[in-house]
Symmetry: C2
Subunit: 442 residues, 2 copies
Amino acid sequence: MDLQLPKSEHPRIVIVGGGFGGIELAKRLKKKPFQVVMLDKHNYHTFQPLLYQVATGGLEAESIAFPLRKIFKGQKNLTFRVTKVKNIDAEKNCLKTDIGDISYDYLVLATGSTSNFFGNKEIEQNSMPMKSIPEALDLRSLILQNFEKSLIETDVIKKHALLNFVVVGGGPTGVETSGAIAELKKHVIPNDYPEMDLNKINIYLVENSPELLGPMSPQAQVKSKEFLIEMGVRVMNETRVLGYDGLTLTLQDKDPIMASTVIWSAGVKGELVAGLDRAEVVRGGRLKTDQQNLIVGYNNVYAIGDVASIIDEATPNGHPGVAPVAIQQGHHLAKNLVNIIENKPLEPFKYFDKGSMATVGRNKAVVDIGKIRFQGVFAWFTWMFVHLMSLVGFRNKIIVFVNWLWSYFSYDRGTRLIIRTFAKDRSVDYRKEVESVKEVSR
Amino acid sequence: MDLQLPKSEHPRIVIVGGGFGGIELAKRLKKKPFQVVMLDKHNYHTFQPLLYQVATGGLEAESIAFPLRKIFKGQKNLTFRVTKVKNIDAEKNCLKTDIGDISYDYLVLATGSTSNFFGNKEIEQNSMPMKSIPEALDLRSLILQNFEKSLIETDVIKKHALLNFVVVGGGPTGVETSGAIAELKKHVIPNDYPEMDLNKINIYLVENSPELLGPMSPQAQVKSKEFLIEMGVRVMNETRVLGYDGLTLTLQDKDPIMASTVIWSAGVKGELVAGLDRAEVVRGGRLKTDQQNLIVGYNNVYAIGDVASIIDEATPNGHPGVAPVAIQQGHHLAKNLVNIIENKPLEPFKYFDKGSMATVGRNKAVVDIGKIRFQGVFAWFTWMFVHLMSLVGFRNKIIVFVNWLWSYFSYDRGTRLIIRTFAKDRSVDYRKEVESVKEVSR
């Protein structure tokens, strides 16, 4: 059944996904002669770079999420619907969704990426991903509940496992998350759990390759590792994870680690939508597009951001899966779509690399901006400033700023509440015992 | 199996519940010759008076909750555990909990209250209570999802029901909640849903008795009703709810209301713990205690706050179930427990009534302080000031203040995100269709 949408005389562009790319594209189409239909499975935009702070009790979820309807307030040519797209029927220019069929003249996939477990179902079932608000909240509850459980566990092995926190993947998310847990251990746990032996809490960062922060400068790679070690994180490079059953993390050629908390940030893949049979899926599970973001094999289906990959001589591996690429592609595609209906020539996408950065902890961050590279306190303030400014919404900026200011002076993390159940079944059975779980599942 | 707790030479007081009363009692026992064991099913204290703002998108949950461990930071004679108490074995002075058995010398029940459905299972299953953070978040999601669903619903009756919001119970919670939904309708919905016909959104406040805010002054009762009607709430006094099947709310001698959202704030009852067979349960499901908060029939089991009721000539119905009573009883019991071990005479509890207040909406509140009664703008600022000052934690005060300031000037409610599933099964099947639900339940 067709979904009822407002009538329009203009060609219809359907954008799937309200992330950085989708939002930028939709906003740039304001007052252009299109009917824009934005679809997302959530009613909010997520500022993914700060998910790890939600997961480690530093921020409330609401401060890094923003209602999508509010973003498009006053944009008369846009209609928003909360739905999950099930299938694309490209022959009929039609999307199948949970709420009905939606036809399109132009389709743009801006669906982003999802955790990549590289086909390992056991790891997928037992480790914690951190790509969405619900996942970050679940991880926060797990970390806090494992501290609580460690106090009452009498089995020595299980108690040991409850206090071992393993982050898999040494990219920015892995570095930031393991650093944040190390700060929890140093500043929060001693106050919250005076009975706990801090020496028994271990934080591991496990990475397959010889260095951390792969795509960054050697200075950033070396310094971030130094910072982490200084903060007490056990950094294990050249370590390959083989499996995780919820209690034992098995490693290639190394001793296994007993851990009740394993956070999976070892890779992402494009969040594909079924039905694009002619599309070519390249490295990282991304859709191959041309310089105009058109999915190769189609003439009115585009892809931008993490789910897309422009592969040519200049970028044999595509562009990195980061917000600035998505934003620039959204901006660029908006211009080209206008060019199409105005019969003007199309322009190829050119990526302007603004640099990259990662934070490790208090006064500790690494920044690469072109040839300029710096680490430490100033890098940390730079990181905070850039992230604060990138947040959507004035209210969110203030709330995050207040939280950071508060944490800076109090050494505290204010939002460490267990307020939801877990996204996944886990072999540790504590969750069955707490009320919050029952309240959700009944 | 006995739960392992730190060794102590002092008598052990076990406090069940980290609400207003339990916290006050525990803090007053700091540096006193007791071992204090505090138990709660959550790891945080909930500031219940502002739950309705969480439910209506005005505040984030983290701003009205506070980690219990942080409250007792540095209190060396206190041990905190997250657990649910299953049973009291008063003969053996022992509690059965999810995490093991805990013996006590003195037991204090400060478990508060829970929604009272007066035995109507159908209403319990289909309406939304709002007594905890998870319940408030679920209600927020329901309200927002019903707006989303109304846009795509083609069945006329269901569409009508999705835009009808019924609050049952005209106490402070009911008045505040219906007022907040009316403000959502007025200030947020027109921006968020330009396609929506505002005239089709109805907000009902249904109350059994002839007036609202039963225990308050006639001036407060009349004025709050005036405010609500002015704001577009359909106030239905002398209306008795018979049943609710998830779609149809049936009323005695009146036409039924079709509504997908029914919020139940029509009553509370004491949150009892099994095993106190000799205790007398009085009006409101509360435990009858003497003037020293001792549960009648026991000599070392006390009850304070909402779960307790001191019934004598002066207070034939007990004290009201509000925070100041719980706090004063906690304070008072701490003094008496010290008196007991110092062999000093015990003092009877005397309640100092500081007054009561309720907010209806922007610039609209009602305040009774003894014989002083005022309504309107000044009452609203008074309400805000008192609630801000009562919040636990400096960070929470700032975050709530920022949110209120923001809402005041922007007419916006910043946190309207659908970020969790529902606590209960409901006949409306939209929840099955959205991703957030799948993420939680898989």
